[in-house]
Symmetry: C2
Subunit: 256 residues, 2 copies
DNA sequence: GTGAGTGTTTGATTTGAGTCAACACGTGCC
DNA sequence: GGCACGTGTTGACTCAAATCAAACACTCAC
């Protein structure tokens, strides 16, 4: 029915990531804020290894055993789900510093598929080893709850987008979200390369690729962005921001 | 900006739920499967109290401190979120046995609003007391992870619905989901009363109330259901089920 | 280079759901 | 009872995005 997960990748079992968490530029996003040097080394000790993924390679698929948490070190990945009726949907894009793999914790089997959009590198932490954490590192466990809550918050924002926004607003929100995320990683917020195809964008935004393409062209026409293939320049983030919320009825918002 | 959470309800601080978990019909849904009698009583000891909610009353609102987990004992509630642009969306309906309140765990503040759709009763478990759990009741903590994963799975299904299905499919999926959930609670799967308004249904399904109404009428016309106000009879669940997936292109489904 | 193949853009047309508007029904209040 | 108000239904019309179709552009293999 579905292709098996590919395991034909470099897998340095037991190897310690060279450099370690302390020197990794992403540790401020993978690890809880304010974790001291001694504890960081202890967490690092739990890490199984790094794992290299080629573009198009799956890290895991829905139904696979959920026994490892991953942190993206470099590259970009997408998550996608398939429901019982055969509908498929991209649910998100993950980049450096994002934590992955907690979708099936407790259930012991992953809910979604995770595939690399470009050559990527992830750090792996076996969930079983989390139980080895001493009580004073409860911070870590609490941090993972925080990350899971973050998944829920992000999904809710996606639901609102899919339910309430027009195509124009969806693309504007998408571009601004990417921009913000690149900025958080220290990259330019106004110029970046899309790692995903128009098809992925369309699936994520709940619109057809023709519409994605038309909206890109329209934004370019309106001098909001400059787009050439997968290279995007944000020319006017203020006006882009103003597009979002435009389809709201003027009558004030209920809260009850 | 937003109405304050109403606390004008019966709050029997410290009171032990009369009857307790062992006699509660819902314990097989609130508590992990296979929990023995002795441990059930121990968990029950952590419960703060029951709480009564009048129809329309909020259990909590987005931004409120997240320090308690709730289990619905009787009644029906809805969760809804509001994003920074003012878009509002119903994200789900909760009934007896459903666990609530873990949306903000770790974040320490709730992400969404939770309001009673009819007079309801919930059991409250302060999260702080979870730390009192002895190591051998790790089952409980693991169970909560499972419930959080369940949130994620449910939200993903909602995202697919909002992104890919036509109005007809959305309502069919909604009715069948309700039917299945009533059956799981021991009620009739073919005849039930909707607890939510057409407006709530529309917001949840991402369609306008006029469309909800039209679809109800159309289903009735087609002898799939019988609907009078909020009373629904499922007449042909097989054909209802067949509606879902109809808008899929016939070309076979990608998995990669 | 040529050609196959995939991914992207653009145009013409269709259509499903939104919008606007009127009306019907149910419930509670006086 | 009659009235008002909130909620739900139905119809006529509009419009945003889907669909269908064709052309274009980039990549990779040979």
């Amino acid at each position: 029915m579905r292709a098996p997960t590919q395991h034909s990748i470099t897998y340095m079992a037991g190897a310690r990531p060279h450099g370690g968490c302390l020197t990794c530029k992403m540790h401020f996003r993978c690890l809880p804020r304010g974790l001291n040097e001694r504890d960081t080394v202890r967490v690092e000790g739990l890490l199984q290894t790094r794992r290299q993924l080629k573009c198009g390679e799956y890290l895991y698929q829905a139904g696979d055993r959920c026994d490892t948490i991953y942190a993206v070190k470099t590259g970009c990945l997408k998550t996608h789900v398939c429901d019982e009726h055969g509908y498929e949907q991209v649910t998100g894009f993950q980049m450096a510093g994002d934590l992955l793999g907690m979708d099936g914790i407790g259930l012991r089997a992953h809910d979604f598929n995770l595939v690399a959009l470009e050559d990527s590198e992830v750090c792996a932490l076996p969930t079983a080893r989390l139980d080895e954490l001493p009580p004073e590192l409860e911070t870590i466990r609490r941090y993972l709850h925080e990350v899971m809550s973050g998944y829920i918050v992000r999904d809710h924002n996606a639901m609102i987008m899919l339910s309430k926004m027009r195509a124009e607003e969806r693309l504007a929100a998408f571009l601004l979200d990417l921009s913000r995320r690149f900025a958080a990683l220290g990259y330019s917020s106004s110029e970046f390369n899309l790692r995903m195809s128009r098809e992925d964008i369309g699936s994520y935004l709940g619109i057809k690729i023709e519409t994605v393409s038309r909206m890109f062209s329209q934004f370019q026409e309106r001098k909001l962005i400059d787009v050439k293939n997968r290279h995007v320049c944000i020319l006017d983030s203020v006006r882009l921001q103003r597009i979002i919320g435009r389809s709201l009825p003027s009558k004030q918002r209920r809260v009850g």
